[in-house]
């Protein structure tokens, strides 16, 4: 959208519908707010929370992100942070090598559920067990969004996907993996939390989790992890406006939000 269209209102006649004022939500560490993700997608919201938290902590010029492959990858060339693009599933080990050579930087990974919990499950588990001083971030929408809505390891029972047309059932397709709970059990994990972006309150809470995870890494106290549940109405085959409700009620009842491990606990 061009700025002239946004800033100049036509006042020569009464508007046909009430004028709405839109604010600029593009975070400072993003080069452009323009993107090609679907309407109702939760990933730009999660990304904004991540970038704003980095900026708040003064880490913009001291952070390296390692990103996997998913819908959000289309946004990464617009992120104004030093990045390494990893393979699907392999971000935690790439981040490990980078952190060991650049211990003074904040190292975070960005992966989706198909990336982290399907393709590269051992990577994040071993990074956590090693107590690697990195922060792994999971954008979990319970579906392979980029391929068009296929079952992942976090798809909840009953959820319809393109390869579970009648809904995921445990007999045929097994159970979803509660990844944050698994990671919280490991000795090397210092901080683990699961947040969401389905409403203002959940976004604010998620930002608090991100801040604690990054601060944990900066204190050098081991592995930290934040899972963020994100909407994918396209991949869930629900109307766009129903995404937040579906996330809260269907996904959120299986992947329960909250802090699962905190230092000293």
């Amino acid at each position: 959208m061009s700025s002239s269209r946004r800033d100049v209102l036509d006042t020569s006649a009464a508007p046909s519908r009430p004028a709405r004022r839109t604010a600029e939500f593009t975070p400072g560490l993003q080069l452009s707010g323009d993107h090609d993700l679907c309407p109702g997608c939760g990933e730009p919201i999660a990304l904004r929370a991540i970038l704003e938290t980095l900026a708040e902590l003064g880490l913009a010029d001291a952070a390296i992100g390692v990103v996997g492959i998913g819908c959000y990858t289309a946004l990464t060339s617009l992120i104004d942070v030093d990045l390494i693009q990893a393979l699907h599933g392999r971000a935690p080990s790439v981040a490990t090598g980078a952190k060991r050579m650049r211990p003074e930087t904040l190292l975070f990974t960005l992966q989706g559920d198909g990336d982290m919990v399907n393709e590269g499950l051992q990577e994040v588990i071993h990074a956590a067990a090693r107590g690697e001083k990195i922060t792994c971030l999971l954008l979990n929408n319970g579906v392979f969004g980029e391929t068009g809505g296929h079952m992942t390891a976090t798809t909840v029972l009953g959820q319809r996907t393109k390869n579970t047309l009648e809904g995921r059932n445990a007999d045929d397709h097994g159970h979803p993996i509660p990844i944050a709970e698994l990671i919280a059990r490991l000795g090397g994990t210092g901080y683990a939390a699961r947040g969401s972006v389905h409403d203002v309150k959940s976004i604010a809470t998620t930002r608090r989790y991100l801040r604690r995870a990054f601060e944990h890494q900066l204190r050098g106290e081991g592995f930290s992890f934040v899972e963020i549940l994100t909407m994918c109405p396209t991949g869930w085959f629900v109307p766009t406006a129903e995404g937040p409700r579906y996330l809260e009620e269907v996904m959120g009842s299986v992947h329960v939000t909250g802090e699962l491990k905190k230092p000293g606990r």
Binding site: L78, V81, T105
Partner: protein
């Protein structure tokens, strides 16, 4: 010292400060050497949970500009191929060691063993001293071209003790690593994105055609510049014996022995398996009656020999599958008497 120790000491002297690996015979001692020695120089060695993670860790370390390495045997390298393909496309300098179980990994090493359209440099040392030299050169070439370099060795190379002096070698100036990520450019609008898909910071989407063209042009330049070889007594040879790595050491010995008996045999060794020294082999074989290809596998390098000669001389395979009971590649072919008979057989075959 053993070849494996020569390799680790040479790597340290070349400034390697990161290694990640996973144990596997006959590569294990290279890994042990890095684990023992890297902490002495302020480096890091990680015992990765699998080869997948080992190559990923090396990828991350290389992306920060550090001189980094990983390695395994061919089996472990199979697991790494997806990443090696991407690392090549991300234009990252990385040194990879294959202490192979024989020479059956020739195709894996030289054809771009993973998905996609790429090759990386492959150097095959003949002995421990050359392994040290080529290891140091590998780090230089990797930085010079921003491209992975693989050192192809085997059981005998890694485990034969020889007198080796590790001297620091300077191969010339290198470009600045201004592409390496250190976190410092965030928020400036000039932050970096080390990626294998042709993403440019600040613009949406990718331009795969332009990106792949750029990589192919670089690959062509490497191919033109980095072919290496060794040759002996080819000028008046009726038969030229081609071999690489450990087997070439036996071949060179046999050719010298036969020359001392006034038999018209020559010796040609590709030091770089990719790029293959095609022009040099064609030149060495000019006027000869045949080229004998000695390799310890079912016939892989022979494709490159034929592609080099383009029908200029008949090509005779005189190698073959040869292994010990453990499958580590120390088979009966690694015997000068056996090779001598095969070379003499090839000579009889081409003589009218």
């Amino acid at each position: 010292m053993e070849g494996s120790e020569a390799i680790t000491e040479a790597a340290l002297s070349a400034g390697c400060r990161f290694f990640a690996g996973y144990p596997m015979t006959p590569f294990t001692e290279v890994h042990e050497g890095f684990a023992r020695r890297l902490p002495d120089v302020g480096g890091v060695c990680i015992n990765a949970e699998s080869e997948l993670e080992a190559v990923g860790m090396a990828w991350g370390a290389a992306a920060t500009g550090a001189r980094a390495a990983t390695g395994s045997t061919g089996q472990g390298l199979s697991l790494m191929q997806e990443s090696l393909s991407e690392i090549t496309r991300a234009e990252l300098p990385l040194v990879v060691f294959n202490m192979a179980r024989g020479q059956g990994d020739y195709f894996q090493a030289t054809r771009g063993g993973g998905h996609g359209d790429y090759r990386h440099v492959v150097l095959a040392p003949i002995d421990a001293a050359e392994a040290a030299h080529l290891t140091q050169l590998a780090f230089h070439l990797a930085d010079l071209w921003r491209h992975p370099v693989l050192i192809y060795g085997d059981y005998l190379l890694a485990h034969t003790s020889e007198a080796v002096e590790i001297v620091h070698r300077d191969f010339g100036p290198l470009p600045e690593k201004d592409w390496a990520v250190d976190g410092s450019l965030g928020g400036t609008g000039r932050s970096r994105n080390v990626n294998p898909i042709g993403m440019t910071k600040g613009s949406k989407g990718i331009d795969p055609a332009a990106f792949w063209d750029h990589l192919q042009q670089k690959t062509d330049r490497i191919e033109a510049a980095e072919a290496r070889f060794e040759t002996e007594s080819c000028e008046d040879a009726e038969l030229v014996v081609v071999a690489f790595g450990t087997l070439a050491r036996f071949a060179r010995y046999v050719v010298r022995e036969l020359r001392a008996e006034d038999l018209p045999v020559g010796y040609f060794r590709p030091v770089s398996l990719w790029p293959y020294p095609k022009g040099a082999l064609l030149e060495a074989a000019r006027g000869c009656g045949g080229v004998a290809c000695l390799e310890q596998n079912a016939g892989q390098m022979i494709d490159d020999v034929r592609l080099s000669l383009l029908g200029e001389a008949p090509v005779l395979p005189i190698g073959g599958i040869s292994t010990d009971a453990a499958g580590f590649g120390v088979g009966p072919l690694l015997d000068a008497a056996v090779i001598r008979e095969r070379v003499l057989g090839a000579l009889r075959e081409i003589r009218p």
